[in-house]
Symmetry: C2
Subunit: 256 residues, 2 copies
């Protein structure tokens, strides 16, 4: 029987509010067994870009990453966001190690080809280094992944944190019973975005398709849910979409 590994993905909004982050990390520290954290930081990056007079351009919620923007996200994701989390986890006796995809060659990606849109220095995941992740997890360390990967040719690439969480979960599904928890600002996937209590308890592919067609599940949620269903299809045992407060309560939307 495999051991359990809990992979938690937290969005940018949570990690930039000191009190919310503190609570979240406290909850994370209470998760028993092997675990891993993957964080965003987009809003902090937008804020720094504004201060530096670099324009943030988004297409379908994805950041166009030119050279200046790559510097900014590297500073924010791998620097400020990642190391703050690591230092706070250490204070909670969680032996965290902050990594980008370049560190230990953990996630190799390729620059997204230019089609209608040139996303710039954005990477699509090519390979997760299972061996390296297993080594550090089995030694008792808790990886904290920043949403940056590398192309193996010396370039860092900006990569969506939801996607990284799903890819890592899929890759480790053969070695662990993987639970994947997406924490975001809502209590789960809602049927009515104005009603926090309209959380869908169980969401399977059929219902997902139906809700998409009916316009109940809208554009913003679709990439996250596509990642979640891909993880489910790859053998990830449990996938929950919930709020930060829902991490240990069992509440939220379960992907089936």
């Amino acid at each position: 029987m495999n051991f359990q590994l809990t992979i938690v993905k937290v969005g940018g909004q949570i990690i930039e509010e000191p009190d919310a982050l503190k609570n979240l990390l406290k909850d994370f520290s209470r998760i028993a067994g092997y675990k891993m954290l993957i964080h965003g930081g987009g809003r902090m990056a937008t804020e720094l870009a504004e201060k530096l007079g670099v324009k943030s351009r988004m297409v379908d919620g994805r950041r166009i990453t030119d050279e200046e923007t790559l510097k900014i996200v590297t500073m924010v994701y791998a620097g400020l966001a990642n190391k703050r989390i690591v230092a706070q986890l250490q204070a909670l006796k969680v032996d965290a190690v902050g990594l980008t995809g370049a560190d230990m060659n953990v996630i190799l990606s390729q620059k997204r080809p230019v089609t209608d849109v040139d996303y710039g220095f954005v990477g699509d995941v090519k390979e997760v280094n299972i061996k390296a992740l297993l080594e550090i997890i089995n030694q008792g360390y808790v990886p904290v992944l920043a949403p940056l990967t590398h192309d193996g040719e010396g370039n860092l690439l900006n990569t969506n944190a939801d996607t990284i969480a799903a890819e890592v979960a899929c890759s480790l599904a053969g070695d662990f019973n993987v639970r994947l928890i997406y924490c975001f600002e809502k209590k789960g996937v809602l049927t009515d975005e104005n009603d926090e209590n309209s959380v869908i308890r169980n969401l399977d592919r059929e219902l997902y398709q139906q809700y998409k067609e009916e316009g109940i599940i809208k554009a913003g949620m679709i990439p996250k849910l596509d990642n979640a269903f891909r993880a489910f299809a790859s053998g990830v045992k449990e996938i929950i979409i919930t709020s930060a407060a829902g991490m240990n309560t069992g509440k939220g939307t379960y992907i089936k």
Copy 2:
């Protein structure tokens, strides 16, 4: 017999010039056996601080680190500088892993007490986690250390890179034959700062004392040399102060 471990410290000036950095990393990749890199980044931090309108204040070459400055050095040291180096080393087939002192609790420090000067969020090294460093080195990874430590209570602290290099070298001197190479902008310790060819070949404590008294070795070099002599006294086998180009040539100043 112990294996050899080469610890290279590179200053901020080298790492911010793309071509100089590329050459340096190529030289570093050629070092045989176990190795580790420790980098600065002060000039990049000063540049970012200027852009953000945050005033850089230095006392005796050490940066006063208030809250805003701590954010800046975290972004630059742990983010931009560290991850660029890691990505480029990966391209050179060096399996690098970028770490601050908070990651794997590698370097615990304490906030410097306020005396005449309040340095702010500056840490003095308390303990190097030999076990964690040995684990990753023995697995074939090459640590790339950013000059940040943590206090174990959730705070990152700015720590001088020369000091980190010396502390890590001292801590590992029992497990490896440690060579410590300080790369900076000169060819070595000079008797005449305007003559690049006036490199002191061998420098022992007695000569160091004499040169200090005669004003031949000046304030700027003293903290670096004090670190170097401390490392020598702690059993570090070879300590060289040299230029980036001198890394593999055997040229430079040898501390005896």
